[in-house]
């Protein structure tokens, strides 16, 4: 596509393929819910999803049976409890068996950083004595510091096929501005082969009074303007986190039929 700023439908249709490895990031803040919903509507399948905190959006995509593998570091409903669709997939293989690749936050941030830095791995002082390291030698190994001999963890880099984030603003050229909690979004942008961004609004000039980060336009593959595109997560300066909805997800997601109905009514 020639145009960088397109409809959400077109953005997902052109740049997300069945079988892709996709990182949708946003640490509590700016979670790209609308983009995730469009992936569900377009029935993109056999996905490997990457996210530090899968949150409700991945619970939904997993519950819809579109995910074959999840790479993550904390899979709960923050402050509320479980992600029941994720749990059923792991505990009962329902609606599909779900492979998992599991990290700690520090290790996963390290893996993204390595990916963004063009390195095959990152190093971490951590994981010593834990079972996560013992269970997952495919992506957690040990190296010795060549100067001190100290044993440190080596974490395999993460380089998604597609990185998807939500941001407050884009200008018409496609430069992106994010402020507030920026999580690992910068790292995902640099680590991913394709970068898709939904934004609250397209502006003439990016707000340069907000402390935040700018992502230069030539790193961005495609952009779509989606108001409230992070709800029930939030977009600082636009709307607040819908903690009430996060709490109500507990009951919606617990039962598959109720979940399916909710998805039908609210997403499909």
């Amino acid at each position: 596509m020639k145009e960088k700023i397109v409809s959400l439908q077109s953005l997902i249709q052109h740049y997300v393929q069945d079988g892709d490895t996709i990182a949708m990031e946003g640490f509590t803040h700016l979670i790209p819910f609308s983009a995730g919903h469009e992936i569900i509507r377009q029935n993109k399948k056999e996905l490997t999803l990457i996210r530090m905190t899968p949150d409700l959006i991945y619970d939904q995509i997993i519950g819809m049976g579109l995910v074959k593998k999840l790479i993550f570091s904390w899979g709960g409903n923050p402050g509320v409890g479980s992600l029941y669709r994720l749990r059923e997939a792991v505990e009962k293989g329902f609606p599909n068996p779900l492979q998992i690749e599991e990290h700690s936050h520090a290790a996963m941030a390290c893996a993204y950083q390595a990916g963004a830095s063009g390195l095959p791995f990152g190093i971490l002082r951590g994981y010593t004595g834990t079972d996560l390291a013992k269970e997952n030698p495919d992506y957690i190994k040990w190296i010795n510091c060549p100067f001190t001999g100290e044993r440190l963890a080596a974490i395999k880099a993460i380089n998604p096929d597609v990185g998807i984030i939500h941001a407050q603003q884009a200008d018409k050229k496609g430069n992106i501005k994010i402020w507030g909690i920026t999580g690992v979004q910068k790292e995902v942008v640099y680590a991913s082969k394709k970068v898709l961004v939904t934004v609250e609004e397209i502006v003439e000039e990016l707000d340069d009074k907000q402390q935040g980060i700018v992502i230069p336009h030539w790193l961005v593959t495609g952009i779509s303007a989606v108001q409230k595109g992070a709800h029930p997560s939030y977009a600082m300066g636009y709307y607040k986190r819908d903690n009430g909805f996060y709490k109500s997800w507990e009951d919606i997601s617990k039962d598959f039929d109720r979940f399916s109905l909710w998805m039908k009514d609210n997403v499909l």
Binding site: T28, G79, G183
Partner: protein, 257 residues
């Protein structure tokens, strides 16, 4: 003033924190205890959440680790890699404050699975920031409700290292942080034996019997020779805590949809 066991636990935990300390805060009970400390005896305590919010001063408790209230009231917000690399791993955190689903007699924490890892009976949320908080904070406090199910002889899965097999094992493996220095529960306080690193009951909350503590511990709990009774919570702490929880509850029950 009357109080619940949970209030006793939170207030006792909050009192472990010193003014001016840099504290890496987990969501839930740790966050409640840390903010209570900030609103009472430790106004200059520095609270850091793994979302990158540094020196945050929320007037209600965050539901998630990255609520807007944390960013809005922070001195500065940094990226997640920076919080883990430069702050936690870089040795800038005095106290890590953790919860968990299971803990064992050597202070190892499980927040990953009940049952076998590859075929879990219950899949829990997982590690989050805990493994590196547990290993890289100068010391850690744990706050957990005591029960036979959660205080076990051996955790099903070591998500976050305590003293591992006990004795010097943690230190010998080169883990830098001192480890869990106490577990604050709704029944008392457990602290590690200096040699074996097995957790002993060192404080019991007022009105709680030794019997009750033992019945809610999944290993043969040893009692410190020097067992003390914890101080009752004062009216002031109870009022500040209840106000905080009420403000929080009002705020979280609203959906903005």
């Amino acid at each position: 003033m009357e109080y619940t066991k949970e209030e006793m636990m939170i207030i006792t935990a909050s009192k472990m924190l010193q003014n001016g300390e840099v504290c890496f805060v987990g969501i839930g009970l740790p966050s409640t205890a840390c903010n209570l400390a900030r609103l009472t005896h430790a106004p200059e305590i520095v609270l850091i959440y793994e979302s990158g919010t540094i020196d945050t001063k929320p007037h209600i408790l965050p539901l998630s680790i990255g609520d807007d209230i944390l960013a809005e009231t922070a001195s500065t917000v940094v990226s997640v890699p920076e919080i883990f690399n430069y702050w936690l791993q870089g040795g800038k955190v005095d106290v890590g404050f953790l919860g968990g689903a299971q803990i064992d007699k050597f202070g190892n924490i499980n927040s990953t699975v009940i049952g076998p890892y590859r075929n879990p009976k219950v899949r829990l949320p997982g590690a989050g920031g805990a493994p590196e908080i547990a290993s890289n904070a100068k010391r850690t406090f744990v706050i957990m409700k005591q029960s036979k199910r959660s205080f076990v002889d051996k955790v099903d899965f070591i998500t976050s290292a305590g003293f591992l097999g006990g004795g010097n094992e943690r230190k010998d493996l080169g883990i830098t942080g001192e480890g869990p220095t106490c577990i604050i529960t709704d029944l008392g306080i457990l602290e590690p034996d200096p040699e074996t690193k097995e957790f002993l009951l060192t404080h019991i909350h007022p009105g709680i019997s030794l019997e009750e503590v033992k019945n809610n511990t999944g290993w043969e709990l040893r009692i410190s020779e020097n067992l003390k009774t914890t101080h009752e919570p004062s009216k002031n702490y109870l009022e500040v805590l209840r106000d905080l929880q009420e403000r929080t509850s009002n705020s979280h029950s609203q959906s903005t949809l």
